[in-house]
Symmetry: C2
Subunit: 88 residues, 2 copies
């Protein structure tokens, strides 16, 4: 079993009010030096069986048709080492 990550972000030319809200809040909260924030989505998929080219092609198609709205969003598919389970 392997983990595949799909990161979905708004395209650079699309306004991101969520990210802007975060960016404008940071100085008020005492954090300087962040000039831009973009907020997107991260999907972690647990894949049964091997993550070969066919599986990746299927996941790419899934991301394109279902996880991302490709009119306004870009996505990246990444295979994550399944042994790296510890987060934080």
């Amino acid at each position: 079993m392997a983990r595949v990550v799909v990161d979905v972000m708004l395209k650079p030319e699309i306004l991101d009010p969520q990210g802007q809200a975060v960016q404008r809040a940071l100085p008020r909260l005492g954090f300087q030096g962040i000039s831009d924030v973009r907020q997107g989505k991260r999907f972690e998929l647990e894949v049964d069986g091997p993550v070969d080219d066919a599986a990746l092609a299927r996941i790419h198609e899934m991301a394109e048709t279902f996880l991302a709205n490709t009119v306004i969003e870009d996505f990246v598919v990444k295979v994550e080492d399944s042994t790296v389970g510890a987060q934080k």
Copy 2:
């Protein structure tokens, strides 16, 4: 200017209805072989100046106090190569 990414995911023991909805929809849409989906948030921060240990410590604190709810969420701070701009 460098890009720092903060990934925020629900802790493994916290129920993720969003991810479950995605996971249950996939077979209906013709995608088999995905046993679990977790959905989280991805923040891309553009940092002014160098991303040294002090800046990373500040971003870590920011993520802990503001971007993530550490009662129910884990987060990971990653420095992304600023030359890798092309997505998709």
